[in-house]
């Protein structure tokens, strides 16, 4: 690597949001013509870093150096002038327009005031040929598969003379065959002298593609190394190597004899053959990367989505919830991952939110028994310590942690046996997190059962009795509490789902 020219250098970049330091003096050097992988857990700061490069975020301090020119921040226009292009997970394509029109969007070839369609199609064709992409430039984007759409996006970036291409999880939406073709394209770009920052959760890919790897963790740059000098195990260790900073309330063994839930070969909603058994009083964790199928599994059990095959046994009887209402009647509750979009009705009062899922039980002859409603709301206000001057406040006015408690109260009011918590502590502060943990402990002690989905490994390991790992809709591992190990779980989560666990392997 002697005396290689730098395409881009980020020096001591710091960016903080209220309460969080997203980037903490991060330095990154991108050598001209290399593929540089950026890895880290969710929330490690990868997205913020690329947004800084693209001009979507302004760093608090630090320098961005492109071809010897120093900047304190980028703007989107400026980044483009510098030849920095980003391929986001959400494509920036206009579905109703053709490939050629998309490639030249914003920089159309014109004859006077009139768009020269022919010239655009011709030069698109040349561009696509040069990159060895076999797409008709006249095809509409909406008629292309996701893989081809992405290629158009890459070609578009290349057509703007991109010198630095940043790719955020480009393989996530692709099939295996499409991924292979995307790799070829990326190699081709590299051969043409484009420098690439490649972000991915799939570690195999990184070893297949990249020249160097930078690991981020908790907003800090942990290490940059040559790909050839490291391996998956070391990488995982570097990614998760944080100590358990949060303290978790001590857990007792509350698991009882009775089997509460049994899932046999569940398929559908992106899941393939998921089987597990859940005992009453247990906290079962589900780990996995984004899109691994954890939320999808919760949706199946809760009846929000329908299974295509497989069986669910609940309290000894086979059930097939067709709607959330069915699931609620069986005694299943789901605290969904997106509190504001799926959990609370923000403009409604706290009282009304709490009674929402049990309103029919609180009614006689269609009329809501208001005293009872108030009583229940106040009971949960006390037991969950919801901090508010009045239960008539709109949920909107509460802090994230208290909003989450309201959503939790709504479900506890239905008196469920099984509570599925999907990212229960996302976006809430440490104190409220701790309170949620304590509530979870109280619940299992009183005979409730919990399924906990979380992307925060320490919290999963701190709170659950057992963790099942999903990857690409399949179970890739199961770890008991006494064997909990971040690296082991991460390595299961990074598997591509080829190895399946059969029912017999469980317990």
């Amino acid at each position: 690597m002697a005396e290689k020219k730098l395409a881009l250098k980020l020096e001591n970049i710091t960016k903080s949001y209220p309460g969080v330091v997203a980037l903490n003096h991060v330095t990154l050097e991108l050598v001209e013509g290399e593929i540089h992988a950026l890895v880290g857990e969710n929330g490690a700061g990868k997205s913020t870093l690329i947004k800084t490069c693209a001009g979507a975020e302004i760093p608090d301090s630090g320098k961005i150096i492109v071809e010897g020119n120093e900047f304190s921040a980028m703007t989107p226009k400026f980044a483009e002038n510098c030849g920095i292009e980003v391929i986001y997970q959400e494509f920036n394509l206009v579905e109703e327009l053709s490939v050629a029109e998309n490639i030249f969007l914003g920089s159309e070839i014109k004859k006077g005031f009139i768009i020269d369609k022919k010239a655009m199609v011709e030069s698109s064709r040349k561009l696509l040929q040069e990159l060895n992409i076999s797409i008709d430039p006249n095809a509409l984007i909406k008629d292309l598969t996701v893989g081809y759409q992405q290629m158009v996006e890459i070609a578009k970036a290349f057509s703007k003379n991109a010198k630095i291409l940043i790719m955020d999880e480009p393989s996530a939406p692709l099939t295996n065959a499409e991924v292979e073709r995307m790799f070829e394209l990326v190699d081709k770009l590299k051969a043409k002298g484009v420098s690439i920052i490649y972000i991915s959760h799939r570690l195999e890919e990184i070893f297949r593609l990249s020249d160097r790897i930078t690991v981020l963790r908790d907003g800090k740059e942990i290490k940059t190394m040559d790909t050839s000098s490291t391996n998956i195990d070391e990488l995982v260790k570097l990614m998760v190597g944080r100590e358990l900073e949060e303290t978790f309330p001590s857990r007792k063994n509350t698991i009882r004899e009775e089997t509460l839930l049994e899932a046999n070969n569940l398929c559908g909603n992106g899941l393939r053959d998921v089987s597990f058994v859940l005992k009453r009083g247990e906290i079962l964790g589900f780990a996995g990367l984004i899109g691994a199928g954890r939320t999808e599994l919760a949706e199946l059990i809760f009846g929000a989505k329908k299974k295509t095959s497989g069986q669910i046994f609940f309290k000894g009887k086979e059930i097939s919830p067709q709607s959330p209402k069915d699931a609620i009647n069986y005694g299943i509750a789901l605290v969904p991952e997106d509190r504001k979009r799926q959990g609370a009705v923000l403009p409604m009062a706290i009282r009304e939110n709490i009674s929402m899922a049990s309103l029919e039980k609180l009614s006689r002859f269609f009329m809501i028994h208001k005293d009872e409603e108030k009583l229940i709301a106040n009971t949960f206000k006390d037991s969950l310590q919801i901090k508010t001057p009045s239960m008539e406040q709109a949920v909107n006015n509460l802090s994230g942690g208290n909003q989450q408690k309201v959503v939790l109260a709504k479900w506890l009011a239905t008196n469920p046996d099984l509570i599925i918590l999907d990212e229960p502590t996302r976006g809430i502060d440490v104190g409220a997190k701790h309170e949620i943990y304590k509530i979870m402990n109280d619940l299992v002690e009183s005979g409730k059962t919990i399924i906990m989905i979380s992307s925060e490994m320490p919290e999963l390991m701190g709170m659950t009795d057992r963790i099942i790992v999903l990857a690409e809709g399949k179970m890739t591992g199961e770890v008991m509490r006494n064997e909990f190990d971040q690296e082991l779980i991460m390595s299961y989560a990074s598997k591509n789902g080829s190895k399946t666990f059969k029912n017999g392997d469980l317990l």
Binding site: A327, Q342, L346, E352, M356, I368, N396
Partner: protein
């Protein structure tokens, strides 16, 4: 501070009171009991239809077919009475069943096909308008049995029957929204459809119910109108949906769904009624009236949006 909040809470009643005072001074005939009763009677159809519109708008929807539904029930009921010789009450019942079903169809399409409500109800508006013309051949139908006029023209003591019907329907609407669980669901679904679905609320049923009620109430307004005018016109209800929408929105029903109260819709309805009546007394022509009503609608929605924006900003802080 408390007084300010009170005025804010009952802003539309305050506006109503101001308009009321202005007309009392400028138009001497305004305050006469007979005029006030007349005013409320004229407004009754609007109030009845506005309740239906309120249910729909609470879900973030809209029902543009209300006017045509009114025209349709006018023509159909009249046709049954005159050409079919059907008993007037039976004819009304058939008409009401028709508008209720039409409302249900609106709701079914909105909930199941996913066409935006504004398009669905625009389509039914056009279809029903055409059908109304077809049935009566474009000519008015008149000459109803004597007893039928009581609905629109009768009095209970000195109170006009249509006004009683309006207040009963205000009461039904208010009771449903405030006291029953499915009434609560209108606020929940309008406030956050996804969260409501995941809380076990059958979203589709609530949508069916909203449009069905809107159809039913439009039907009731149509019957009152038919009895009052004693003549069925194929354009009887033209433009009625916009007055009903204006009344609902003046009453603070948010166009984005999720909030609004019937008690305020009463105020919204009366504001339109008082304005219309006052303008007539002051001899202001109907075109000027339209201009003013349009401006009033813009102001009301603008106020709603500004309130919303302020709340969003506060939540972001």
């Amino acid at each position: 501070m408390k007084a300010l909040n009170l005025i804010k809470k009952y802003a539309m009643f305050t506006v109503l009171a101001v308009i009321f005072c202005v007309f009392s001074i400028t138009a001497p005939a305004f305050l006469q009991i007979s005029n006030l009763l007349d005013l409320t009677r004229q407004t009754s159809m609007l109030g009845i239809a506005a309740v239906g519109m309120t249910f729909v708008v609470l879900l973030g929807g809209i029902d543009l077919s209300i006017g045509s539904q009114i025209s349709m029930i006018n023509v159909v009921t009249a046709f049954l009475m005159i050409s079919g010789g059907v008993n007037p009450w039976l004819a009304c019942l058939i008409g009401l069943i028709m508008t209720t079903l039409t409302g249900f169809v609106n709701g079914w399409i909105v909930a199941n096909i996913g066409i935006p409500a504004i398009i669905v109800t625009l389509a039914t508006q056009i279809i029903l308008q055409g059908a109304a013309y077809k049935i009566c051949g474009g000519l008015p139908i008149y000459g109803f049995p004597e007893e039928f006029s009581i609905v629109g023209q009768g009095y209970l003591w000195i109170i006009p029957i249509p006004v009683i019907i309006m207040f009963v329907i205000f009461g039904v609407g208010s009771f449903t929204l405030n006291k029953t669980y499915f009434g609560r669901y209108f606020y929940a679904v309008g406030g956050n459809e996804e969260a409501s679905r995941l809380s076990g609320i059958k979203i589709k049923n609530i949508k069916y119910l909203a449009y069905t009620l809107s159809g039913f109430f439009a039907g009731v307004a149509g019957v009152v109108m038919l009895s009052r005018t004693n003549s069925a016109q194929p354009i009887a209800g033209q433009g009625f949906e916009f007055d009903a929408l204006t009344a609902a929105i003046l009453g603070g029903v948010s166009v984005t769904g999720g909030s609004g109260k019937i008690s305020n819709v009463v105020a919204g309805t009366l504001i339109i009624g008082v304005l219309t009546n006052g303008f007539v007394l002051l001899n202001i022509d109907s075109y000027t009236q339209m201009i003013i009503k349009g401006i009033v609608l813009l102001l009301a929605v603008g106020y709603d949006c500004m309130q919303k924006n302020r709340k969003v900003k506060m939540a972001a802080v």
